[in-house]
């Protein structure tokens, strides 16, 4: 099982021939991911590091049966690249690119959600997804994870905190089913609830770790959803408890979310839902270990 990526993943990388794209794509392949194609318009037909390159994602899908794409193109072309993958029939899209304008993502996410297809977009501005021992799509170093699949489902808005906290889990012998970095952008392709619902449905996942940050109300909503729907233990950690309060322009944000987005608000939401909140990254692993007895 695992979620989002696994042994059945056949990966096409948009922007594979760039320096960053090459580096991480090959790392993913080295990890064991089935890297089948790259896409660079105008370079169709060549081989790059042993990977066949196509002009379009549609051609790559036709030629290789790719079912998952990773987006590594520059920000101004990335929204279009996501749409291209979607239209080519790709069902799992992992967008690493950061600084995609929110207007673009609002349109992209609306477009994907309005389709009849069941498409998963992770990111943008995210470190990707790794299912230990199965597949790695993104930039999460495989070494921080457990070598074999384990019982912990992990989801985080922050990138480097994925590394830090998964590393601590691994050191305590707590293997992971899948680790997902959803990214911290205003309009993510998948939010906490989307990923939690995948963990709910995954029989291998026995306990879930959610790593958030101050700002917005995604953590509060996740807690409310989990209480009603998750049916598995959940441990929360939120970075930024001591961060200086951000300047706030006007009232619109507060009218919408009804939350001030503070650490306290998030911690309260978790505790009220019956979920423990870790004080620091190390405590996350300790709390999970405690739950596992």
């Amino acid at each position: 099982m695992a979620v989002i990526v696994d042994e059945r993943t056949k990966l096409v990388v948009q922007g594979l021939t760039g320096a960053e794209g090459t580096f991480h794509s090959l790392r993913n392949r080295d990890y064991g991911t089935d890297l089948v194609a790259g896409v660079t318009p105008g370079k169709g037909g060549i081989q790059h590091e042993g990977v066949p390159i196509f002009d379009t994602v549609a051609a790559a899908v036709d030629g290789t049966g790719a079912n998952t794409s990773m987006v590594f193109v520059p920000a101004r072309f990335a929204a279009d690249a996501i749409l291209e993958s979607f239209e080519a029939g790709i069902d799992t899209i992992v967008a690493i690119t950061e600084h995609i304008p929110a207007m673009d993502m609002a349109r992209v996410v609306t477009y994907l959600r309005s389709s009849d297809r069941d498409v998963t977009l992770i990111g943008p501005n995210c470190p990707g997804v790794i299912s230990p021992g199965r597949a790695n799509v993104g930039i999460i170093p495989g070494e921080v994870c457990s070598q074999a699949p384990g019982p912990v489902g992990f989801v985080s808005r922050s990138g480097t905190l994925v590394y830090q906290i998964v590393h601590e889990l691994t050191q305590l012998g707590l293997g992971q089913s899948t680790c997902v970095g959803i990214g911290g952008d205003p309009i993510p392709g998948s939010d906490f609830i989307d990923v939690l619902s995948r963990f709910r449905d995954d029989p291998e996942t026995e306990v879930v770790v959610l790593v958030g940050e101050i700002g917005g109300d995604a953590e509060e909503r996740a807690a409310a959803w989990a209480k009603e729907n998750l049916g598995k233990p959940l441990v929360g950690y939120f970075a930024g408890r001591e961060a200086p309060p951000g300047k706030r322009m006007g009232h619109a944000g507060a009218i919408v979310s009804g939350s001030q987005g503070t650490w306290q608000a998030k911690a309260d939401a978790f505790r009220e839902a019956g979920y423990p909140v870790a004080k620091n990254p190390s405590e996350v692993a300790q709390l999970v270990a405690g739950l596992r007895g």
């Binding site: 930039i139 590393h167 970075a239 706030r248 006007g250």
Partner: protein, 411 residues
Amino acid sequence: MDLFEYQGKELLRRFEVPVPEGRVAQSPEEAAEAARFLGGKVVVKAQVLVGGRGKQGGVKVVDSPEAAAAAAEEIMSIDFYDQEGYKLKTADPASLSDADRERLERTVPMRAKRVLVERAGELKDEYYCSFLVDRTNRSFLGILTSEGGMDVEEVNERTPEKIAKVGIDPLLGFSDFYGRAMTFGGNIPAEARKGVLAILPKLFRAFVELDASQIEINPLVLTADDKVVALDAKVIIDDSAAFRLPFFDELKAAHEVPEQERAAKEKGLNLIKLDGNVGIIGNGAGLVMSTLDVVKDAGGEAANFLDVGGGANAEVLSNALEIITSNPEVRSIFINIFGGITRCDLVAEGIIDALNRLSVNVPIVVRLDGTNAELGRKILADNPNEMLQTAETMLGAADLAVKLANKGGGN
């Protein structure tokens, strides 16, 4: 980027959103000149990025150029606090908790470097209107209510049904029925309806074409001659869209940033200055925030927030150290790196380079983990320096850095 009122209104004017006639002034003399040009009664408004500037004396109505100059002079000498800070400052000191008192002490007030001088007119009614990127629904939202003014959040808590919140499909764009849903739903009175219905699509177009994450008009007013006008404008622009906004850099230039933050930005680093004495360098915003938290738990106070980003190399680290050590408050430095894309060997090289290049006389605690961490630790060990210490864990490193800062020393 948060825009000043005068910047937001300048942009809104391009989309034919009615705003009062006005001129921005950088001195009392310019304010007087602006008042002379406009004639009659004018309002002088502090251009400062805080909420509730009116309560703090930042908005004055005057009826002569001389009075405008005096108002500008007074306004430009006010210490403005954000709403939270203002609440603390004006509260009975005895009623403050220790944490609040501490927060108040750490709050740095702001000055208005400019005033906006606008023609003043009689108002019949005030409304509240905004368009924003709605993170919760991953969509756009339009908000409108006849219960305008500064207390709209209270209205939202007490009587949310008085506020129309209308989701707007980002692909469909602004079809007129959204405007009617906002106008009738927000109880806009009949006399203002036509004007409000006309302004909404223009505001929405501005919202989209400016790549705004928020446009808030509070108040949107009905004037004595039955015109609907945006009397204030809080516009936030999505920095990620800067590449396609020809006006972005010019508007950005009007924003003052602390010298250290500016220097950091020039070197491509994301730094926010804080008021403690433990310098912080980390990779990734989440990890840096988390580092601030553990420093605090260890009894320390961070001197800054500095994220070297995803692919930090030796040069970046060296620059970061240079900037941190330029802050005289810093008593110790905590470098917290978990390598993913970032390679710890390059980080170590950057540290050594900085130590060789600069005369660093505060202790540095380094914690390396992740990609090439072994190699990085070896490089540090091979280049011993009395100012340099390493730690195995993030928590251990925090304890050490705080202990060193509290011990004193420094440059």
